[in-house]
């Protein structure tokens, strides 16, 4: 019964989405106010029914209703409650429903927070989002129905993939989807601007907070996924350049270019067509990511159910949505060269360089991801492209981008004087060179020292900008610092925090790459192994029973200089329902890095293979990403955007064209 309610709710949501996708758009074109006014209630109504469907599926999971196919495939009576709830998005159908739920969430947010925008514009934005909804609801109903029955019902479910039975996996997909789907808002704003033919600064100002918020979620989602891979897969790696990871990384790269390009468009009216193209591309890549993951065209460690019918559907949808919007772009994009002039050393030129570098980086990651498929399609053989390719193209592209990132915020719009810039940056430059020298002298590699140079550069230039802000404040250091909150807007603070996070991230990556150590040893109770100044004593190993698995837990005593620091308990688990073995690494986290112990195979009656790893500063990688995401959220909630809306409304009330601001 509950399955049918959910199914029916999805069908109603599709009907409402059709209304939302057609009438407001036509209304905006023909200036029919009543049709335009349908946009908000339709978006909210559609959201209501999608929520009903989602709740139905969750209830089915909680109640162990194995007469629903997805529940029988993804759940089990012995699965703990939290994972039964998270199990909803453990499979293909449920995760697409989660996608839909997020899309509705964003649509409702747009309808609620855009009351101050011109109705014609909001109608177009929500209309475009409605069309995207139509596509995904149809995809759910026709190829991936989460409410499909399994009759006769299974006596017991197959259980959730053990890899996904983890707190990280509970948060990772929703965060990632928030980001993916969030770019649909930027996309809808761009299309609305193209449709209205008014591609001006006000469009980019309206779109900025949404885009930055989506980018923050995506950043957090990718970081959580990477962290999860690090502690759950048991290999100690944190990024594998796997096609599915790349699928989430591509929209991030373009999204990063987009939020910077939007800044230039809003402030100076430059790069308009380019910004629109980036907004379309960011969402296109989100859809492409969904296609790559869900159609199974690429092989990956992420084993998802594959079904060619689904692939055809998403591909068709992709061609209509992206092909259509790129065609619209070709027809409507404004003439190139609009906007104010700027010199070679200016904030505009820095942002442009950032854009180009990120777009090229995205293109090369896309090429590496698609290359095996293209070769296979041309019948030139089966190959796989691995981390060496990605690292070789990625580092040379990102290094100059990071270098410019330090200068950009200090450079002035229109043009800066080189001596003036050099003066504000000399201490930062000195500090980074010193940092690199220290790294080289202590035995770091050339590449590692470059990493340190860039990390210090980013942090030091951030401080230099703060110093610049308070240059005119007289008085003591304390007085200057305490004047900062008045002199730095929330958007600037967010930007600085995010840039600072990039520095922290680079430092973490560099330290791990340069100084990590690893040792695979065979250990029996009583054996002692050493690595990086630590001693590991293997005490014992014993079996225990988990809720839905049988586990084996070892006790490894970690000590340094004869002092016992911790008892580490790496585990191996055998999940009963799927007969799948899993490794749970024991990790001791400190600010200066992790000690990582994972339990391998039993090599004899009493001996085990054990992998010991030292990961210096590894957590700074995710710490840096968290700072980036936080910075983004800070910037997205700047007062200016709310004020801007209020002014816009005043402008409209006063019958002044909104675009003239």
């Amino acid at each position: 019964m509950i399955g049918e309610v959910g199914h029916f709710a999805l069908i109603i949501a599709l009907m409402i989405a059709l209304v939302q996708g057609v009438l407001p758009l036509v209304g905006a074109q023909r200036n029919i106010t009543t049709w335009m006014n349908l946009a908000q209630p339709a978006a909210q109504g559609q959201a209501l029914f999608v929520v009903i469907a989602y709740v139905c599926l969750t209830v089915a999971f909680v109640q162990n209703d194995f007469s629903l196919l997805v529940v029988a495939q993804q759940s089990n009576t012995s699965l703990p409650l939290a994972y039964r709830i998270a199990g909803v998005w453990g499979g293909h159908e449920g995760s697409m429903l989660l996608w839909m739920l997020m899309l509705c969430g964003w649509s409702v947010a747009v309808s609620a927070f855009s009351r101050r925008l011109p109705q014609e514009f909001v109608a177009r934005v929500l209309g475009v989002m409605g069309l995207v909804s139509v596509g995904f609801l149809a995809f759910l109903l026709f190829t991936s129905n989460p409410f499909e029955r399994l009759l006769p019902a299974a006596a017991e479910g197959r259980d959730l993939n053990p890899l996904l039975q983890d707190p990280g996996m509970v948060i990772h997909p929703p965060m990632l989807y928030m980001g993916y789907v969030g770019f649909s808002v930027a996309f809808a704003f761009a299309l609305a601007a193209l449709l209205s033919g008014r591609l001006d600064a006000s469009w980019s100002r309206w779109s900025r907070p949404w885009t930055i918020a989506a980018w923050s979620f995506l950043t957090a989602g990718i970081a959580i996924g990477s962290w999860w891979a690090y502690y759950e897969l048991g290999w100690g790696g944190w990024w594998f350049w796997d096609p599915v990871e790349n699928a989430s990384f591509l929209p991030w790269l373009i999204g990063t270019a987009l939020i910077h390009s939007l800044a230039a468009t809003e402030k100076r009216g430059v790069f308009r067509s380019w910004t629109v193209l980036l907004a379309i591309s960011a969402f296109a890549l989100s859809l492409l990511g969904t296609f790559l993951v869900r159609s199974g065209v690429l092989t990956s460690v992420h084993a998802f159910a594959t079904d060619p019918k689904r692939g055809i559907f998403i591909l068709g949808f992709l061609v209509i949505v992206i092909g259509g919007s790129l065609l619209l772009f070709a027809l409507r994009a404004p003439k190139v060269g609009l906007g104010g002039a700027f010199s070679a050393i200016s904030r505009e030129s820095m942002l442009l360089a950032n854009n180009v570098l990120f777009a090229v980086a995205c293109a090369s990651v896309l090429l590496g991801t698609m290359y095996p498929l293209i070769l296979d399609a041309l019948q030139l053989g089966k190959i796989s492209v691995g981390p060496p390719y990605f690292e070789r193209v990625f580092v040379p592209l990102m290094a100059p981008a990071v270098f410019l990132m330090g200068i950009g915020p200090l450079a002035r719009w229109r043009g800066s004087q080189v001596p003036e810039l050099a003066k504000s940056l000399r201490w930062a430059l000195l500090a980074s060179v010193l940092g690199a020298a220290v790294s080289l002298l202590s035995g770091g590699s050339l590449l590692g020292s470059l990493g340190i140079l860039l990390a210090v550069w980013v942090v030091a230039t951030t401080l230099a900008l703060l110093a610049e802000k308070t240059r005119n404040v007289s008085g003591s250091f304390v007085q200057r610092v305490s004047s900062l909150p008045r002199r730095v807007t929330r958007a600037e603070a967010g930007m600085l925090l995010a840039h600072f996070g990039v520095g922290v991230f680079i430092f973490g990556v560099t330290m791990v790459k340069t100084w990590e150590a690893q040792n695979d040893v065979r250990m029996e109770p009583g054996d002692v192994a050493t690595l990086g100044g630590y001693a590991f004593r293997f005490d014992s190993a014993a079996e225990f029973n988990g809720p839905n698995y049988i586990g084996l837990r070892a006790n490894v005593v970690l000590s340094k200089d004869g002092k016992e620091l911790a008892v580490m308990q790496p585990e191996k688990r055998m999940y009963k329902a799927q007969g799948m073995p899993m490794t749970e690494a024991a990790i001791r986290t400190r600010l200066g890095g992790d000690v990582y112990v994972s339990l391998g195979e039993m090599v004899s009656e009493t001996a085990w293979a054990v992998r010991l790893q030292i990961k210096p500063f590894v957590d700074w990688i995710w710490g840096g990403a968290a700072l980036m995401a936080l910075g983004g959220l800070l910037a997205a909630t700047d007062r200016r955007y709310r004020l801007a809306r209020r002014e816009e409304r005043a402008a409209i009330a006063g019958r002044v064209p909104a675009g003239s601001a």
């Binding site: 399994l150 006769p152 193209l277 296609f291 065209v297 992206i322 772009f329 698609m370 007969g579």
Partner: protein
């Protein structure tokens, strides 16, 4: 309209063409190293009569299908009616390899959904499955009169695969 503005559209459509071709390819179709090699030997207890056993060599001189299944496997239910139908036609013997399963569960499952197998053997610890390179259940092998593996289907057997690949191959091998 400037032609330059059409470049993104062109690039995207080119990508879409490759994606479309890609859909028709199967990246998992890594050529099995076992094709045209002798089927790995086994000797396993029969599912319904654990005291008796079946070995690979018992099937010598016949073309036969080895179908890897389990009662816990949902995808096996998808191909099951097809196998039951095939068994009624009596064109080729089907031997079931009950993979990492519990005997009572497996017997119940066959009683409930029908038993298409001439015989099932149980591979409780999955040892034989490893020899056969099983990495997902169900899988189906076509083995010829000399005990050579001639075809391997990973995942459920579909009506197309049965009609276009398996049955013609069986007919050819039986000559």
């Amino acid at each position: 309209m400037k032609l330059k503005l059409l470049i993104p559209l062109g690039a995207f459509l080119l990508l879409a063409v490759f994606l479309f071709i890609g859909l028709g390819l199967n990246p998992r179709e890594v050529p099995s190293p076992l094709i045209d090699k002798p089927a790995p030997p086994f000797k396993l207890a029969k599912l319904d009569q654990p005291a008796e056993s079946l070995s690979r060599d018992d099937m010598k001189g016949k073309v036969w299908l080895l179908n890897v299944w389990a009662s816990w496997c949902v995808a096996c239910r998808q191909e099951h009616p097809l196998l039951v139908e095939l068994s009624k036609q009596k064109v080729v013997p089907i031997i079931g390899l009950d993979y990492k399963d519990q005997r009572p569960d497996a017997i119940n499952w066959l009683a409930k959904f029908g038993d298409p197998y001439d015989l099932s053997v149980s591979d409780m610890d999955g040892r034989v499955g490893i020899d056969y390179g099983v990495y997902g259940v169900p899988e189906t092998f076509v083995i010829d009169k000399n005990g050579m593996i001639r075809f391997k289907q990973i995942g459920p057997v579909t009506p197309e695969v049965l009609r276009e690949r398996i049955l013609p191959l069986v007919k050819e091998l039986q000559k």
